[in-house]
């Protein structure tokens, strides 16, 4: 009898879990966006106050993982908004029909932007972060990092993370067909390749490597949130790959208006301020007020690759990385 009761309790409570609230906006994003120190909680609070709804964040590993999830779920995904792809993934996301036009008139942005489906919400430059107190002979160029640097690095898996993919594109932009050699030289310096940005950065802060792949804006976090100047970005003479992170309305969304409202909110000055100081990237809305620390950051020369080439070659380049580092 006891057993029966127990069984009944378990099954009933499981069914209870499936109950859902009505006006709920489901947002697919990456893990660090919705962590306690990310923009998620603050954005939820601000947006839920004006929309009379609730945001259901779904935190996946990283940007590329969001795209893979969309491919896997196809038309049956539950997302209303997809937030966390970057411009390099736009052609692929459009090709699988994952998004629909946002039909919004955007405010004046800090970057040049023409896209009917996607809305940019922040941008930045990839860079290696180091601890100024521990690392004495820092490399001043990618060339030096690959050939002369004798420390250790951490970076993210290009198959799941937009940051890891950023390094892949950065190397491609600099080395073209010789990228394979660059990877194999980097391999010996690599502590491990993590699935997403949070894992790699967390490991770096624990002192498990000399350099970690992140953004030029990461030091701002330490300066603002921790009053800590130890961590700085390396500036490389060849230039840095830039990244623009974007959000869009899912093609399958049943809540078009709410999703539009959310995107408009995302590029508004208050939300942009939150994103800049919690996601630690540069805001796309020039109206957003920034802490003093942002003016001390390195402002590198920007590199970029043609979007169409990237979307055609991404798979092949990822495979090249996979085959090189698994040797």
């Amino acid at each position: 009898m006891k057993k029966l009761l127990w069984l009944a309790c378990c099954t009933l409570s499981v069914f209870g879990l499936n109950a859902q609230a009505n006006s709920e906006l489901t947002v697919y994003t990456y893990q660090s966006f919705v962590s306690d120190w990310g923009p998620g909680p603050a954005l939820s609070k601000a947006f839920e106050a004006e929309c009379n709804c609730s945001i259901n964040w779904v935190g996946l590993d990283d940007g590329v993982a969001i795209l893979n999830r969309l491919k896997l779920e196809g038309k049956r995904n539950k997302a209303d908004v997809i937030l966390g792809l970057d411009t390099n993934l736009i052609p692929e996301a459009e090709a699988i029909g994952a998004v629909q036009a946002h039909q919004l008139t955007l405010p004046k942005l800090a970057i040049d932007w023409q896209d009917n489906n996607f809305v940019p919400y922040d941008y930045g430059y990839f860079a290696f972060i180091y601890n100024t107190e521990l690392l004495k002979n820092k490399p001043s160029s990618m060339e030096e990092l690959i050939n002369e640097f004798d420390g250790t690095i951490l970076y993210q898996d290009p198959r799941t993370s937009t940051v890891g993919q950023g390094l892949m594109l950065w190397l491609k932009a600099l080395y073209g067909d010789d990228t394979e050699q660059a990877w194999s030289k980097l391999k010996d310096k690599t502590v491990t390749v993590t699935k997403g940005w949070s894992e790699a950065y967390g490991m770096f802060l624990k002192g498990e490597a000399d350099l970690v792949l992140s953004y030029t804006t990461s030091p701002a976090y330490h300066m603002v949130a921790e009053q800590e100047n130890r961590y700085q970005a390396l500036e490389f003479s060849e230039g840095h790959m830039s990244q623009v992170e974007v959000a869009a309305i899912s093609a399958t969304s049943q809540q078009l208006e709410l999703a539009q409202q959310f995107l408009a909110f995302l590029v508004s000055a208050p939300a942009q301020q939150v994103i800049a100081t919690t996601n630690w990237m540069l805001p796309v809305n020039p109206e957003a007020e920034l802490p003093e620390a942002f003016s001390t950051l390195v402002t590198p020369k920007a590199l970029s690759l043609d979007q169409a080439t990237v979307s055609q070659q991404r798979k092949a380049w990822t495979k090249e990385w996979r085959n090189t580092v698994s040797q």
């Binding site: 006891k2 893979n68 779920e73 502590v191 085959n323 040797q327």
Partner: protein, 524 residues
């Protein structure tokens, strides 16, 4: 009449198992339109295969060598707590794998206490971590079986050895090794297969593409690159190798029950050196086991008790229980039908061949690892329906298939004994079938049944592979939650989740024990 019913039940269960396997292969085969031999010309695929075999070989070797040393030490020293130690060895084997990963990271990892004590540091991610975790899981199992083999060595051998003045080495070469050899081949193969198909450990402790096994490559191909073709290639290779190994293995395994013989240690003249050696072995074994267990829970010290994710814990515990209960229902239906047929054929010598076929079917998950079956069913459902709606039943079914061989194995000996013991009595009393079950078999089978069910539930509760592959956003089980916390380096939270998992397992064992496993002498 009863015999007919039993046969129908048994065949239906077998047919269902065959159907699931066929469906999985159909799902895989559907994808083969694009498969060509040239696709196998992928250096990465072969590298992954090489690493899979290499780590499995090393793991199995380590487990066997360690297991033999430990079994010898147990046999020669005959510690007072031996029964308890043998039981503990069993527990290591059913310990949820993700907990073992947590323990390895916590004790040998970069922030583990061993690294703090040692003057130099090492990397746990990659082969070292994989080997440590595999050894923890499999070495105690091998030690236990080897100890049983030692017990089976006739006393006369030792006496003769003593008369001839054997040295330690001669004992080993002429008495112990020949006795162990027969059993060890099968055990080595079993551990090799288990490690070859190991998923959770390699995923969590692998650390990049250098150390990827076929199982993990299947997962990555679907989750990272969305490359079904590559997943299929890995699945086919995996299946081919595992089946050929399994074919060689099956049939070599024998059921043996523990025979308590008189302790023969009095015969041995121990030199203090050999005694010290054996004590050293046992001590280092316990140091290893306890450091992994400590590693599981040492991060709890850093836990902040203010903001605990109760909501997440409750939800994922309920998902886990839901899946475990559903999978136990599957196991009970399938397993009991197979066992019923088995018991009705026990008193005749016919059907032995047929039975072997069924045994093979029931062990399908040892041959075709979970990822292969999961991938097949995944493809099959993906093209036809909304897969996220079927997540829970599908995971439960595959977990049930995974624990079916263990269920059968733990119940057969007891069933064997009781049928053989009471068959004649039943015939002479001419009891109706239901009364036979009620008055004779049920009281005898209660205890083993409660153990078998708890085992299946714990196995299903601790499984992460299947849910990681087909899990939708809404379904997060406890092991999956633990894995997510581990991979975002929240060790303290992961530790707390691990504790909840262990408590749940303990509660399951306890509840089943008081409800089913009670001694009830009043029945007879």
């Amino acid at each position: 009449m009863m015999k007919k019913l039993a046969a129908i039940a048994g065949y239906t269960a077998s047919a269902f198992l065959a159907l699931v396997i066929c469906a999985a292969f159909w799902g895989l085969a559907e994808q083969t339109k694009e498969l060509s031999w040239s696709a196998f010309n992928d250096p990465y695929l072969w590298r992954v295969l090489r690493f899979s075999l290499w780590q499995a070989l090393l793991s199995a070797l380590l487990a066997c060598v360690g297991g033999i040393l430990l079994a010898r030490a147990w046999f020669y020293l005959q510690p007072k707590s031996l029964n308890w130690q043998l039981r503990l060895a069993n527990l290591c084997f059913v310990c949820p794998v993700i907990l073992v990963v947590l323990g390895c990271v916590g004790s040998f990892g970069l922030n583990g206490f061993w690294q703090h004590l040692a003057p130099f540091s090492w990397k746990i991610y990659g082969l070292p971590g994989i080997l440590i975790a595999h050894t923890f899981l499999n070495m105690p199992l091998i030690a236990r079986y080897c100890y049983l083999q030692y017990q089976a060595i006739p006393a006369s051998y030792w006496r003769q050895g003593k008369q001839l003045g054997f040295s330690q080495f001669s004992y080993w070469r002429l008495i112990e090794w020949p006795m162990l050899r027969s059993r060890l081949a099968g055990l080595f193969g079993l551990v090799f297969l288990l490690c070859f198909g190991s998923f959770t450990i390699v995923l969590a402790l692998g650390g990049g593409p250098q150390s990827t096994t076929l199982e993990v490559a299947i997962y990555q191909a679907l989750r990272y690159d969305f490359d079904p073709l590559f997943a299929l290639q890995c699945a086919l290779l995996q299946l081919l190798i595992a089946t050929s190994l399994g074919w060689l293995l099956l049939g070599r395994e024998q059921q043996d029950s523990i025979r308590h013989q008189q302790s023969l240690t009095s015969i041995h003249q121990h030199t203090t050196l050999s005694l010290t050696w054996h004590r050293l072995i046992i001590t280092s074994y316990y140091l290893f086991i306890s450091s992994v267990v400590l590693g599981m829970f040492s991060p709890l010290v850093a836990l902040s008790w203010q903001a605990l994710p109760w909501q997440q814990w409750i939800e994922s515990s309920l998902w886990s229980l839901n899946i475990a209960l559903q999978s136990v229902v599957w196991v009970l239906i399938l397993g009991s039908a197979l066992l019923w047929q088995y018991s009705s054929n026990l008193n005749q010598n016919k059907g032995a061949k047929r039975h072997k076929g069924q045994e093979l079917l029931a062990s399908v998950m040892l041959l075709a690892p979970a990822m292969v079956i999961t991938t097949g069913l995944f493809f099959l459902l993906l093209s036809r329906t909304d897969i996220s709606r079927y997540t829970v039943p599908l995971v439960a079914l595959i977990n049930a298939l995974m624990s079916l061989p263990f269920y059968m194995r733990s119940l057969k000996p007891a069933l064997n004994d009781s049928v053989k013991q009471y068959a004649k009595l039943n015939q002479s009393l001419d009891l109706p079938a239901l009364s036979q079950v009620r008055f004779i078999y049920w009281p005898l089978m209660r205890k083993p049944l409660s153990v078998a069910i708890s085992l299946c539930m714990v196995l299903s509760l601790g499984d992460m592979g299947v849910i990681a592959l087909i899990g939708s956003v809404d379904v997060t089980t406890l092991p999956l939650l633990l894995f997510q916390q581990l991979s975002s380096y929240q060790y303290a939270l992961a530790s707390a989740t691990g504790l909840i998992m262990l408590l749940l397992c303990g509660v399951i064992f306890y509840l089943l024990d008081i409800s089913l496993g009670r001694d009830n002498a009043e029945h007879i």
